[in-house]
């Protein structure tokens, strides 16, 4: 009787192939993004996210074609992130068939880009991706900071304050990746997920470090996330989307079955 929590498989895409890093270093291959997306669509995924980790221009053109192929075959929402730096980048991806774009480091270097993007295309299609890492020491009050460059560069920006600022500028959704957890499969950082979800009025997607179905449940209940994103547990058939949804439903979470 309520809005369903969304399950979002995320495909890291490099030069037209799905990859997934473990702590952003050890990369494994999970195949053609459109084929993977179709399988998720058939299984009942609520959305798909493509994160383009390609650095080259040729690779970015490949991504546009991948999004076009995807959009003519898969009829659930698609978010595209990675390398979105200009209004033209956004327009290209939306025209190719993406429903939302995710802005990451460009927001850190130029926060006003988020305002410009939201003014031009509407907040509903502007997701701001935040990579947060815990910086407080044991015994101190919890504090998380924004990191860039795959978690290597600290920015000194407080993650919760940053999220609030992004929403004020027009972000329609926050994609929160807790960096110290990512790829190590210990689950989401529930503290920062809950702190940001409580602090902003827009939906928050929890991301980073999912190793089992209890992590998805905890993200929704303790982390108060509106959606949960995961990659490798789905890519390598450890769990299927229907298994994940059934598991969540049995624990009292609204899902779309």
């Amino acid at each position: 009787m309520a809005l369903a929590k969304r399950i979002i498989p995320c495909l890291d895409v490099e030069n037209g192939r799905v990859v997934k890093g473990v702590q952003f270093v050890d990369i494994r291959d999970a195949g053609d993004p459109v084929e993977v997306a179709k399988r998720y669509d058939e299984e009942g995924a609520d959305e798909i996210t493509f994160l383009d980790i390609t650095a080259t221009h040729e690779g970015r053109d490949t991504m546009v074609h991948t999004v076009e192929r995807m959009a003519s075959q898969v009829f659930i929402p698609l978010t595209v992130g990675g390398g979105i730096r200009t209004v033209d980048d956004i327009r290209t991806m939306l025209n190719a068939g993406a429903d939302k774009v995710s802005i990451n480091s460009a927001a850190v270097f130029n926060p006003d880009f988020v305002r410009e993007a939201a003014d031009k295309f509407g907040s509903q299609c502007i997701v701001v991706a935040i990579d947060a890492k815990k910086v407080s020491q044991p015994g101190e009050a919890d504090r998380w900071e924004i990191f860039t460059h795959g978690g290597r560069k600290p920015t000194g920006l407080d993650a919760v304050e940053w999220a609030k600022k992004m929403v004020q500028l027009g972000a329609g959704e926050i994609l929160l990746t807790s960096m110290d957890q990512d790829g190590v499969k210990n689950g989401y950082d529930l503290g920062v997920t809950r702190a940001i979800s409580d602090a902003v009025n827009v939906p928050v997607i929890a991301s980073g470090g999912v190793g089992n179905l209890d992590h998805l449940v905890a993200g929704c209940i303790e982390g108060k996330a509106d959606a949960v994103l995961a990659a490798s547990i789905f890519h390598f058939n450890e769990y299927s989307i229907p298994e994940a949804k059934q598991y969540m439903k049995e624990r009292g979470i609204e899902v779309r079955l």
Partner: protein
């Protein structure tokens, strides 16, 4: 070959809805257009829309889409409005400080508010984004093959509050009861996005392409 005009007034991604129509009925001609002649000659007309209502209404008026919509509705041909294309059919929206809309239905488009809560006190996020249950109010050819209570995909911060409740074809609950589909004669319109709503959404689009515009 039957044809459907998807009215293009420069607001939002029309690729998805055009691809979805082609997907459910490969032999239908899908025209993404604002040309009055093409809209007039099409067998069916679809009014999409995303973004802020003020910008949408400004473009609708500047391009003469308001006249195309009125003509299509009066012609009796099947007409489908989606999201802002649904809201635009109402009398007025509270968005952007108040904007007059096309007035084909008596009703107001209202803001969910900044402190929206579920009846049990749970705080609700705005926009209303994701899959929610759609409760059908009456039988309609566009509901054919779609179970009552099926979940459709929504993304919006403003909702329709219609005056003529008997015309409301579906409700949804998100803190408040909202009117998420309306039907009168040859017109059907939805707040949710059928083109993003997987099999149930594709079924609704297929029903639209098979619909003769009568109840």
């Amino acid at each position: 070959m039957s044809s459907v005009a998807v009215i293009d007034y420069g607001m939002g991604n029309l690729h998805s809805v055009a691809k979805a129509l082609e997907h459910v009925m490969p032999d239908v001609e899908v025209l993404v257009t604002a040309d009055p002649e093409q809209v007039r000659n099409a067998d069916r007309v679809l009014l999409p829309g995303v973004g802020a209502i003020r910008d949408c209404m400004a473009e609708i008026r500047r391009l003469g889409v308001d006249k195309e919509v009125a003509e299509a509705i009066n012609s009796g041909k099947p007409f489908l409005g989606i999201c802002v294309g649904y809201q635009a059919l109402m009398q007025r929206s509270e968005e952007n400080g108040g904007v007059d809309c096309l007035g084909h239905f008596d009703g107001t488009v209202r803001y969910f508010g900044d402190d929206l809560k579920e009846t049990d006190g749970e705080r609700l996020k705005v926009p209303h984004m994701g899959w929610n249950e759609v409760h059908q109010r009456f039988d309609h050819p566009l509901w054919h093959g779609i179970d009552d209570g099926s979940r459709f995909y929504f993304v919006h911060s403003y909702y329709v509050d219609a005056v003529d409740k008997p015309l409301v074809a579906a409700n949804c609950h998100y803190g408040v009861d909202i009117d998420v589909a309306i039907a009168r004669d040859n017109v059907f319109a939805t707040q949710f996005h059928p083109e993003k709503s997987h099999t149930v959404g594709l079924q609704l689009l297929k029903n639209f392409l098979n619909w003769d515009g009568k109840r």
